[in-house]
C-alpha cells in the first residue's frame, strides 16, 4: 500500500488544504466558541435563576440539544432555517440563509448547550459557605458573584471550556455534509480529484491529531497552573 505513497500529492495540495480548508475550520471554531460561550453564559444564568419559567426553558434547551446527534441538527437547521426566516420576515418565499451562515448558527446553538452546562457546573461547584462569606462582609449579590464566585468558578471552568473547544474543532468537519470546504472537505476533494485517497485522509488525520493533541497538552498545563489550593 505504501509502495505507491505519493508525498508529492500532499505537498502540492498544501496551499489549498490550509488556505481554504484550515482557514475555514479555524474560523468556524473561533466564531462558534465566541458566540457559544456568550449564549451559553446566558443560558447558564437562566438555568440557575430562581424564576422557574426561565430555568425550565434553559433546561429544555440544554436537554434537547444534548440529546440530538450533531449531524441531525446541522441538517435540521439548514433545511428549516429558511422557513423560519420566511415566517419571521413574512417574506413570500423561504429566506436564503446559505450553508456558511447556517453552519455558524448551528454550531453556536449546539455548543451553547454544552458551554451552559460547563458554566453551571463551575458556578455550582463553589461551596455555599463562600457565598455566605461574601455576603457576610457586606457585598451585594452582583459584587459577591463578581469578586467571590465567578473568579473561582472561572478557574475550574476554563480548562473544560478549552477541552470542549478542541472537541468543537474536530466536530466542525461535519459541515462537509453541507458541501462546505473545511479542512477535511478540502482533503476529501483533492483525494477524489487526484485519486490519492490514502495520502489525503492519512494526512488529514495527522493534522487533526497534532493540533488536538498539542492543544489538550497545553490545557492540562494550564489546569495545573490555575488550580486553587483549598
Amino acid at each position: 500500500m505504501f509502495a505507491h505513497f505519493d508525498f508529492g500529492a500532499i505537498y502540492r495540495a498544501l496551499p489549498y488544504l490550509f488556505r481554504e480548508g484550515m482557514t475555514f475550520t479555524l474560523m468556524l471554531t473561533a466564531i462558534a466558541t465566541f458566540f457559544g460561550v456568550i449564549l451559553g453564559t446566558i443560558i447558564a444564568m437562566m438555568r440557575l435563576s430562581s424564576v422557574r419559567l426561565l430555568s425550565q426553558l434553559a433546561a429544555l434547551y440544554v436537554n434537547l440539544l444534548r440529546a440530538l446527534p450533531l449531524v441531525l441538527v446541522i441538517f435540521l437547521i439548514y433545511f428549516l432555517l429558511p422557513y423560519v426566516g420566511q415566517w419571521i420576515t413574512r417574506a413570500p418565499r423561504p429566506v436564503e440563509v446559505g450553508a456558511l451562515n447556517s453552519s455558524i448558527i448551528t454550531f453556536t446553538v449546539f455548543e451553547a448547550a454544552y458551554f451552559a452546562e460547563i458554566m453551571r457546573a463551575g458556578i455550582q461547584s463553589i461551596p455555599s459557605g463562600q457565598v455566605a462569606a461574601g455576603y457576610g462582609v457586606g457585598l451585594k449579590y452582583s459584587q459577591m458573584m463578581r469578586y467571590v464566585v465567578l473568579p473561582q468558578a472561572f478557574r475550574t471552568m476554563l480548562p473544560v471550556i478549552f477541552m470542549q473547544t478542541i472537541v468543537l474543532f474536530q466536530d466542525t468537519s461535519l459541515v462537509y455534509v453541507l458541501s462546505i470546504t473545511d479542512f477535511l472537505g478540502a482533503a476529501s476533494k483533492v483525494a477524489e480529484r487526484d485519486g490519492r485517497i490514502v495520502e489525503m485522509y492519512l494526512f488529514a488525520a495527522l493534522v487533526y491529531f497534532i493540533i488536538s493533541f498539542t492543544a489538550s497538552r497545553y490545557v492540562r498545563r494550564l489546569q495545573n497552573r490555575l488550580a486553587i489550593v483549598r
Binding site: P127, Y135, G136, G138, L139, Q143, Y147, I228, V229
Partner: protein, 245 residues
Amino acid sequence: MAMITLKNVDKWYNPQFQVLKNCTTSIDKGEVVVVCGPSGSGKSTLIKTVNGLESIQGGEITVDGTSVAAKGTNLPKLRSRVGMVFQHFELFPHLSITQNLCLGQEKVLNRSHDEAVAKAHKLLDRVGLTAHADKFPGQLSGGQQQRVAIARALVMDPICMLFDEPTSALDPEMVNEVLDVMVQLAKEGMTMMVVTHEMGFARKVADRVVFMDAGEIVEDEPKDAFFEAAKSERARQFLSKILSH
C-alpha cells in the same frame, strides 16, 4: 442598651420542619453571650438569622435598632457592620491574605487601597500573622486561617461579632490560638454572640449562656447560674456529657 434583640423568632425549612421556635433573647452592648446545645438544635441557624444569612418567617430581629427582616432594610450595609466568623473559615481561596482583608473595605466601605492595606496589616499584626500577609489561605494552618477570618471581620470596624462554631473544625492543638484572640476581643468590650462547645471559653469570658434544644431557647441565664445550677433537665444532661471528660 441592647445591641442585638431577637423577639419570638420562628423559622421553617419546610412546612413540616420548624428549626427555630419562638426564640427570644437580647444581647447588650459589650456583652458576650455563648449559645450552646446539642447538634441540630438550631444554634447555627439562629446566629445566621442575626445578619440575615438565614431568613425568618416570624418574629423580629434588630441589630443596633435596625430591623433585619424588614423589607426596606439595606442588608449589605447592615452585614458590613456585623462581623461574622464561620466554622470552616471561608476565606476566599483565590485571594491572598491581604486581599482577603481588603475586599470588603474597598468594595463595601469604599476605602482607598492604601488605607485598606494599612488597616489589614494592622489587624494581621494583632492576630500575629504579619509574616503571612502575602500567602494564600491554602498555605496556612486551620488555626491561622481562622485568625485571618477574625481579622477579616475586624477590619470592617464592626459594632458586634458573630462566631459560628469558630473552633469546631480545628485540630485540638490549634483551638487555643483562636480562643486567645477571642478572649482578648471580649476583654476589649466587643459585643459577641458565640456558638461554641468550648465551655472553658464560656466560663472565662461569657456574661450569659443561652442553651438551645430542638429549636427552642431552653435556658438564658447568667454564666454562673447556668454552670452551677442549670434549671432544665436537658441542659444538665448536656453539661454532664460535655464536661465529663
